[in-house]
Symmetry: D2
Subunit: 228 residues, 4 copies
Amino acid sequence: MEVTLISHTLEPESVVAAAARLSTSSVSATQLKERLSPQRVQRLLDNLIAAGHLSPFEHASFTFAIDGISRVTSHQLVRHRLASYTQQSQRYVSLGQLEYVTPHSIARRSDWEARYREAIEGVHRLYCDMMEAGIPGEDARYILPNAVETRLVMTMNARELMHAASLRLCLRAQWEIVQLFENIKIEVRKVAPRIGDELKPKCFHMGYCDEAECCGLMPKLDGKGAVR
Amino acid sequence: MEVTLISHTLEPESVVAAAARLSTSSVSATQLKERLSPQRVQRLLDNLIAAGHLSPFEHASFTFAIDGISRVTSHQLVRHRLASYTQQSQRYVSLGQLEYVTPHSIARRSDWEARYREAIEGVHRLYCDMMEAGIPGEDARYILPNAVETRLVMTMNARELMHAASLRLCLRAQWEIVQLFENIKIEVRKVAPRIGDELKPKCFHMGYCDEAECCGLMPKLDGKGAVR
Amino acid sequence: MEVTLISHTLEPESVVAAAARLSTSSVSATQLKERLSPQRVQRLLDNLIAAGHLSPFEHASFTFAIDGISRVTSHQLVRHRLASYTQQSQRYVSLGQLEYVTPHSIARRSDWEARYREAIEGVHRLYCDMMEAGIPGEDARYILPNAVETRLVMTMNARELMHAASLRLCLRAQWEIVQLFENIKIEVRKVAPRIGDELKPKCFHMGYCDEAECCGLMPKLDGKGAVR
Amino acid sequence: MEVTLISHTLEPESVVAAAARLSTSSVSATQLKERLSPQRVQRLLDNLIAAGHLSPFEHASFTFAIDGISRVTSHQLVRHRLASYTQQSQRYVSLGQLEYVTPHSIARRSDWEARYREAIEGVHRLYCDMMEAGIPGEDARYILPNAVETRLVMTMNARELMHAASLRLCLRAQWEIVQLFENIKIEVRKVAPRIGDELKPKCFHMGYCDEAECCGLMPKLDGKGAVR
């Protein structure tokens, strides 16, 4: 898996701070262009987060090239609807060389890894044979496994990144999408450290866990709303 | 594939007509509850469509149970972001009995159909073996093919249905999603015939084709915007 | 202010329950059409709410005719982007008879109420004079006050209603929009009592208050996440 | 009115081109970071526009400070739901100095301009008196006219900008919002000339006019879809 930030809103944290400033004080557009000190920006962002006023974070967005995730994970990822995706088509791009993901629970056991690999290679040979026999690529790909790697470009704003990360960095989430969001977090931190820091599991925001099966990192609430 | 309308906005076409009425005339909320004649409803809908004022169609929504589409198609479907989806999880629902889709280009050639079926059965045996050996279901499913059937509940409003159908009923779209939207259209027509009629390829709305490869049903535009 | 539910998803709570059922069990589309007992529906909804799995609530939507809110409030309302609105145009509907909202803080003091009323009447006369003099309605309305009543049709799904109500039923929200959401809640309860009950201020969901200025109904969190 | 681009996606047109490249060819994330020649970028953008494949344009977004538009216009603007807004609150920011918009149809006739100005000044005095008498700002503002200026920060992606401009640059749109989008277009062209060029009335995209009352710039379609 390779996650690369290929573009983003210029000075993302300053833009969020400028929007925050506008909402409650009498500043003009010209004044909004003036640079705020890094300290001022941090204080404005801290205040927004503490108050749960997250809408100004929508003004900063981040564009990632995501390479080498399985279609298991891309199918989950695109369920986040407040984002933009351009995905490499299995319909137009033929897969002469098959790249695929092997889960750790399989990779660490050499016998199962061998059966898994052979099964995928067998299926890939059938795929290539069907293509050669004139079966359209859009039909031949029905045989390809979920494990096959895909690529996409994704743009998500900071508010939605915080929301998605709160679900996908939960240790109860599926391991590959956890890993994807860990990589996203690393990339965001390079250009927007304060925003990057806010990409964390929901229990870190709430102070407790609301999952049916809890990993134990944070306490669960009892029925009356008290932390137990 | 089985597509069933399991619920929808009560009197969907009357609701759209009521909203249309409000936007340009001085009617009260109480008056909006009054029944309009079917003729009046049709005329109001016709006017909206002719003028391209589609936003009132958002007030009518339709909920479908969709059963037996491949994950090829569900992955495409959920790319329509202005809709709500609840999909059966491959993570929690184990697949003792594997149901899968066979494209017609494969099904009609018995030799390829046999190789396709055997490949899927082989992969399914490996999936079951891995599950028995204690590999988590969320990892074992990486080996499953795109062809595996999935189920979902989808809610989409009439405006977005018209938009999605304009793309997905194009004969250049992938055959399984064309079939899905043909079924959706049949279901919508039962309770909202005028809206159902508007579920049609984009070329029927535009009067010409803008695809690179045209099926020939409608003329293409030349560079100057004239129909050729 | 008059809020009327003019349509909604048929059997809204059953539809949410059907979607919830699908996500974690192996039911077919045909089975989803079967009626669940009211007890079963309630249990499924309770589980979703307890687990914070709110996406199935998107399958139920509600359409309201809203009559007699000020443009102060309509401007706030349409900021909720996950909903559909058709608003009566001040551009096309001329306002021969001016209806307007008087806030209680003004209405209860007869001297201020008189000045407020006279000011609005004066402005309305100018509006009518400008219209007669041939100034376009879309320009004449610039003089009209925020207090002028407007009408709209709004469709919102149950998940977004729960979110919007969590903000707008907070006693710190603006009084007119609080009143609007109280009316919405009354209407929803008539056809979907369990969903209606969930339309409540965010502090009832969280068990604490995160507003800078707290009304005292719920305790505030201290810096370490403990309720104080 | 003052419209200032305060931030935007870095190299917006290259990002759109990179996404376009990915969708139909086999390039890796690392390759996507490589700079494309300006000619190549233009060709990719031209192809997307010609084919109506607009989704890659969502990867580029633009953030504007908008200063001095009336609340007539801000109310219309925020109806575009696929965008992010932070608006200066009339609730928290008190309006000691009242700035307001005068439509040209009023401004050019000195008698009407005088009555308009006096009416607004009268209303503003009442607003200030009510504030001094302890009536809350959130209530006093009910008396303020639509003409009062507001400020906001808006972020919109290139696809939605193209859509909004197609409606709002139509000469049938309200003059103030036409002017707003003309200013937006000027700002976008400075950093993304090809995208800026695509901000134009819908009739320029379609080659004909579908408005009930046509300005005459483009021909209307007759009933059979032919240009007349």
